[in-house]
Structures are given as C-alpha cells and as structure tokens.
C-alpha cells in the first residue's frame, strides 16, 4: 500500500502495522502486559501524540492490522488526533498508524527487556506548550 498522502484523503477502513511493531506488540501480549494488541496500538498513538511527534514515513514492511471500527469504535482516537494535530488534509487513520508505529517502537525502547510501565507513561505525559 502506498504511503503517499493524497490532497484530500479518503478515510481508511483498516489500519496497518509495521512488521517490527507487530513483533513488539505480540511480545508485549505474550508477556502479559496487554490483553489485546489493540491496547498497545492505542497506547502507541497516545504516546506519540503526547510527545508532539511528527511521525515519518510508514515502513514499507507492514501488514493490515485491524479494522478502524474495532480500533476506534467511538471515534475518540480520531477526534483526539484532529484536535491536537493539523492534518492538512491527511487521512486521520493514516496519520494514526504512523503515530502508532513510532509510539510502539518508543515503548519498546523505554522498557526494553523489562516491565511495560503504563503508569509511568501516564505520569510522564508532557503538557502541551501554551
């Protein structure tokens, strides 16, 4: 699937996950930190958003991960992104999958080989500069 952002994005029905991030989430679930990989996916999006990250290109090695309707049934994730980010016409879920990919890798870097300290993630979430 191409990552080129169209001028007026058509919204996705599926979100993708890079192979590496998929491996990370699989491991986190196996380690008992996540009930579902989707929970880690949402955490990744939130972490990247909270850090004000401008995510790069989505990795070429990726796979379809989950339906948008399952990931964000009430549209709260999309709403959060739209409020916090000027999408400039980009697809909100296309942007979300790039945020997720960055955030998942960041989580692995922070808690490599150890405990997925969600409480710390919540405490350390930075405030938006005024």
């Amino acid at each position: 699937m191409s990552d080129t952002v169209p001028a007026i994005a058509t919204e996705r029905t599926q979100v993708r996950l890079s192979n590496k991030a998929h491996t990370i989430l699989t491991q986190m679930k196996e380690d008992g930190y996540l009930a579902e990989m989707t929970d880690g996916y949402r955490l990744g999006i939130a972490l990247a958003l909270s850090m004000g990250v401008a995510p790069g290109e989505f990795p070429a090695e990726n796979k379809n991960f989950i339906a948008v309707s399952t990931l964000d049934p009430s549209g709260e994730i999309a709403a959060s992104i739209r409020i916090l980010v000027d999408l400039e016409g980009q697809s909100v879920y296309g942007y979300a999958e790039r945020l997720a990919d960055w955030g998942i890798k960041e989580m692995q870097d922070r808690f490599r080989g150890g405990f997925l300290d969600v409480a710390k993630l919540m405490d350390e979430a930075p405030a938006l500069p005024a």
Binding site: D39, L43, I83, L84, M122, P126, A127
Partner: protein, 661 residues
C-alpha cells in the same frame, strides 16, 4: 556417707573412660561441675542413679531404657559394654559399688534393652558382698525411695511446684512419692490387709446367717452389697489400670512430640508459607487481570494533560468569541434602534418627537456604530468548530479508572517481594522437613489430644465408681452393725471376726491420718527452717504445708502470702525438698543438677551458703547461665573442694576435665 570417686566406661555421652573425684574435706565439701546444656550434666547424675539403683531417669521422670545408656559412638565400633563404679565410705567402712551391662551371649548386634545383661557387685572394706546383702546396705545410707531428694535435677523443682495445684495428676503422683518416702504406705498396706480380712469375715458372716433361721433377708442383703462391692472394685481396678495405660501412652506421645516439636512447627510454618504464597499469587493474578482491563483506557490518560491544556485553550477562545458575539449583538441592536429613530424622528424609548439637534446626534452615532460593526467580523464556522471541539474534548476527558494502574503496579511489586521471601522461607523449611514423616507427627498430636480427653473421661468414671462403692460399703456397715446387736448373730464366730477386723481397719485409718499429720508437721518445720535461710525476704516467717505437701509462704503475722514469683516458687520447692531429705534420712551428700534456673543472685548466694552446712557433700551440676564463676563463687571459694568442666568432643562424646586442683 561420703562419696569418693565416680568412674564410668561408655556411659551415655562419656565415650571410653570417665572419672571424677568428690571433695572429701568436710570444710571444703562443695563440688561444681560446669557444662552447657546437652553436654552431659544430667548423665553424671544418672551415672550415680544407675550404679546404685540400676535405673536412669529422663524427662518427665521416665526411666531411660538400658539400651539407650550405651554411648552411641562406642556401639558404632561394636562396643556394647558399659560400666559405672562409685566408691564411698559410711560409718567407718569403705565401699565400692559397681554396675555393668554387656551384650548377652548369642546376640550379635543388640537392638533392645533385653539384649543386654546388667550385673552389679559391691565390696565392703575390700570384701565382696553377696547379692542378697547389697540392697540392705544401700538402704542403710541411700534408700532408693529418698534418692529423688538427694539426687535431683532442676526439673524436679518444677514438679514440686505442681504440689500447689490441688488435684492435678502431677501433684497426686508427687504426693504418693512423698508418702512412699515418709513411710505412710506401710500403714496403708496394713489398712488394705485389714479391709481384705474384713471382707472375708463379712462373707463368712453371710454364709453363717443363712444357716441360722430368721436372718435370711439380712444375709441376702449383705450378699447383694458384697457382690456389688466386689464388682465395683473390679471395675475400679480395671479403670485405674486403663487410666494408667492412657496416661503412660499420653506421656510417651508427649515425649515423642516434644522431640519433634521443632519439626512440627517447621511443617506448620511451611504449610502457612505455602498457603500465603498461593494467596499472594492469586491476588497478583487478580490484580493483573484488573490491570489488563485498565490498560484499555490508559491511552486516554496518556493524552489527558495535553488534551486538558488544549481544551482550556479552545475554551478560552470560545469564551472570547462568545463575548465578541454578545458585543456585536449589542451594537446591531443599537444600530437598529438608531436607524428607526433617525427615520421616524421619534425617540425609540419614550416615543416623543426628536428635535433636529437630537436627530443629527442620533444619525452621527448611527454612522459611528455602523463603522464599528464593520470591524467586528466573526467567523461563525470557527466558532461552531470551537464549540464542537470543546464538546469532543469534554467527552474525551471524562474520568477513567486507568490511574489505578499505578496502585496495582505497586501492590503487584510488593506481592512479588513477599512471594520471593516466601519462596526462600519455603525452600529453607522444605530442606528442614525433607524426609520427615510430618503426617505421622500430626497423627500423634491428634492421638495425644484424644488420650487427654479419654483420661478425663476415665477419671470421671473412677470418681463415680468410688462414690457408688462408698455408698455400698456404708450399707454393708449398717447391716453388720445391726447384726452385731442381735444376740444370736453376735454369737456367731464370723460376726466376732467382722467386729475385730472392722476395729483394726478403723485403727489403721486413724493411724494413717495421725502419721500424715505428724509427718506434715515435721516436714513443715524442717522446710520452714530451710526457707528462712534461703529466702531473701526477712518478713517471711515460714511455710505452711497443705494436704498435698504443697507449701505456702507465711508473712510476719502468720498470714498466707497469696502471690509469689517464679524464683520464690523455686525457693519454696527447694525448701520442701530439703525438708523431705532430712525427714527421711540422716544428712548425706546432695547432688543437684541445674538447680538455679530462675533464681536471682541473692537467692543463689543463700543456697550456696546454706546447703553446704546441712549436707556432707554438695555437688552442683550447673551451666554458666546459672552460676557466674567470677562473682557467684567468690564468697564460696573457701568451701569449694573441686571444680570440673564438661567439654564437648562431638555430639555424642563429652569429656569431664578438672579445672582446679
């Protein structure tokens, strides 16, 4: 009696040869043997008991099996022979008493006491005595019945404190032991014999009455009560035997359980630790499940600070635009009013006609406001978006429970530490109890508890049987009394015998009471004498003896002192023992094992000062916790004849060494 030497071979922890010399100088008649617990102090006391009486006493006054007297290391090398020799003098004669135990012929490896053959020999002035004379000689200077008062250990003091608890099993046993020493049993046996004669006579009387005319009904009643009494006595005998058996079994189980108490406690701790570990693990699992549910909403909490700021920012914008809109509304309303006024030339408020000057002013104001309105442009779409965003943010910022993850993580972490501690504890305890049959221990505990209940039940049955027996005996006595009054019956030989036996039985009963009272009075005086010397309280005037030979302290007014300390209990018990020792025999050596357990320095000093004056020799087996060599012995130094120390070579091998010359 003066002890000279004690020597042994392979006796209990004393592997090979062991020898000690007693002090024979009457001015320096104190001997001290120091030894830590489990080193062999009581074994020395038992060596003396065994050589004289052929028995060694363990915990709870139970006899130690001959098999267990042989040093274990010696048996491992195939040596099953033990020997103890004591030399002493009495009444100008020199004695040597020797006792040995050896493996019986045809026994390859002994496995029980019966596999060993015990023999004894005594020499008096170097001349061997016949076996039949040995007991008589021993009874002259150290009768076995009194031995517990001159060869005693600290445990005996605890037993004697039980005398103060009327009715306890232990106090009954001690009372019997005391009366045994003081000679009461001889009278009791006499009374029992008289009762037997009386019973035979009453039976004969019954038979005679049946032959006489007119006494059939009395004879029948007499026979009925005699049969009842015989039956109850038989029951009582069985009940007493059963009670003894149950108590023996219980004591045996108590001893066995005491040995494995530490193991049982370890098993209990092990089970508790395993159960607590399981609870912790279950709680951890439960918390982990809660945590997983909470992680679902954690993303909102990660975003909360940012979204809150954003919401505040948007809300502020929204409020600003709202106020701008209100201002614009005001201006528009004003313009509308002024336009109407200028056009209609009437005041919009009062409806009066406007003068030219006022109309011009209104038109000017209208123009100014119209210009102002042009500068108040509002982006309604933006305003609407802001409102929509605030609503979305309010929804997103609704509280979640995800913050509880921090608490759960702390709790899980704490539980992990607990589980690790428990794992270590479980490993250590498992190592301790590995290979031990803890189920068997639990079975023994349950059986012991059952025997305790059984013992109480039998005691109740015995009391009930005794009550019935007394009632029947009274009825029989009434019949005998009635018959005595009848001339024809009185003339019968058997009736005369009944009367005679009845009188003898009563005489014995009165004598027993009299002797008991006399003995108690003697013991009370002697014990009070000792107590006044031993006690540190000058206001105590003496002791009063109760029916069980228990003693109560009296104050200076002769009133009983109701409460006393553990140390005072020990002094009272020691005074009783001293009184009994002197009431039962002439002064001789006294050997005490661990006698100062709960005593303070002053009491210890009193004992050390007093006892050497009432004994021919005072031998004390003590540990460092009881007697401080530096301080306690200073006032006694001139009286100490010799000091020994027991040293541990290995767990099963101790050695006695003299440490002063």
């Amino acid at each position: 009696m003066i002890l000279h030497t004690l020597s042994s071979t392979n006796f209990m922890p004393y592997l090979g040869k062991m020898s000690i010399n007693f002090p024979t100088d009457k001015d320096r008649n104190v001997m001290l043997v120091f030894g830590d617990n489990m080193r062999g102090k009581t074994s020395l006391l038992n060596a003396l008991r065994w050589v004289f009486y052929g028995k060694a006493i363990g915990r709870h006054s139970r006899e130690i099996a001959l098999f267990d007297l042989v040093n274990i290391e010696a048996t491992l090398e195939g040596d099953w022979s033990i020997e103890v020799v004591v030399t002493f003098e009495d009444d100008g004669h020199r004695y040597e008493m020797r006792r040995t135990a050896t493996k019986r012929a045809l026994v390859s490896i002994p496995s029980r006491s019966e596999d060993l053959l015990m023999e004894r020999a005594m020499r008096k002035d170097d001349i061997p005595l016949g076996e039949h004379l040995i007991d008589a000689e021993i009874n002259r200077f150290a009768p076995e019945q009194t031995s517990r008062f001159f060869l005693f250990d600290g445990e005996l003091l605890d037993e004697y404190e039980q005398l103060l608890i009327d009715g306890s099993d232990q106090s009954k046993l001690i009372k019997e032991a005391i009366e045994q020493v003081l000679g009461v049993p001889n009278l009791i046996r006499g009374r029992d014999d008289a009762q037997t004669i009386l019973k035979h006579a009453q039976k004969q009387q019954t038979a005679d009455l049946q032959k006489m005319g007119g006494f059939e009904s009395q004879a029948e009643r007499q026979r009925h009560y005699q049969a009842q009494i015989e039956s109850i006595e038989k029951d009582l005998k069985g009940q007493n035997e059963r009670l003894k058996q149950v108590n023996d079994d219980r004591i045996e189980l108590d001893d066995a359980l005491e040995k494995v108490e530490a193991l049982y406690q370890a098993k209990q701790k092990f089970d508790d630790a395993v159960a607590t570990r399981k609870e912790n693990i279950d709680r951890q699992d439960d918390l982990q499940q809660q945590r997983l549910l909470l992680v679902k909403d954690a993303w909102k909490e990660v975003l909360r600070p940012l979204l809150t700021l954003k919401r505040n920012h948007i809300h502020a914008q929204y409020l600003k635009l709202t106020s701008q809109m209100l201002a614009r509304d005001k201006v528009e309303t004003k313009i509308e009013q002024l336009a109407v006024a200028v056009q209609s030339q009437t005041c919009h408020a009062c409806g009066q006609a406007l003068h030219q000057k006022e109309r011009v002013a209104a038109a000017t104001e209208l123009g100014r406001l119209q210009a102002e309105l042009l500068g108040m442009k509002l982006d309604l779409n933006f305003f609407s978006k802001l409102g929509s965003d605030v609503q979305s943010l309010d929804k997103l910022l609704q509280p979640t429970d995800a913050r509880q993850i921090a608490f759960i993580d702390k709790e899980v972490s704490r539980l992990s530490v607990e589980v690790t501690k428990l794992d270590n504890q479980i490993d250590a305890l498992d190592e301790l109890i590995k290979g031990q049959d803890t189920a068997e221990i639990a079975r023994k505990r349950a059986k012991r508890d059952g025997l305790l209940k059984e013992s109480a039940r039998i005691a109740g049955d015995i009391k009930s049987s005794k009550d019935t027996l007394e009632k029947n005996q009274r009825e029989l006595a009434i019949i005998s009394k009635v018959l005595e009054g009848l001339p024809k019956a009185r003339a019968a030989k058997s009736s005369k015998l009944v009367k005679l036996a009845s009188s003898i039985e009563k005489a014995y009963a009165r004598s027993i009471d009299q002797l008991r009272d006399d003995l108690k009075s003697t013991v009370e005086n002697l014990a009070s004498q000792a107590f006044r010397k031993l006690s540190t309280q000058s206001q105590y005037s003496g002791l009063r003896i109760n029916g069980n030979y228990g003693l109560t302290i009296l104050d200076e007014r002769g009133q009983e002192v109701p409460i006393r300390s553990a140390g005072a209990e020990q002094i009272v018990a020691l005074s009783l023992i001293d009184g009994l020792a002197h009431a039962g025999r002439s002064a001789g050596p006294v050997v005490m094992d661990t006698p100062f357990g709960r005593l303070d320095k002053k009491h210890r000093a009193n004992i050390l000062a007093y006892l050497p004056t009432t004994t021919s020799q005072l031998v004390l087996f003590v540990h460092e916790g009881e007697v401080d060599r530096a301080t306690d012995l200073a006032p006694l130094r001139s009286k100490i004849g010799c000091v020994y120390e027991i040293k541990e070579i290995s767990l099963r091998h101790s050695r006695v060494e003299r440490i002063n010359q």
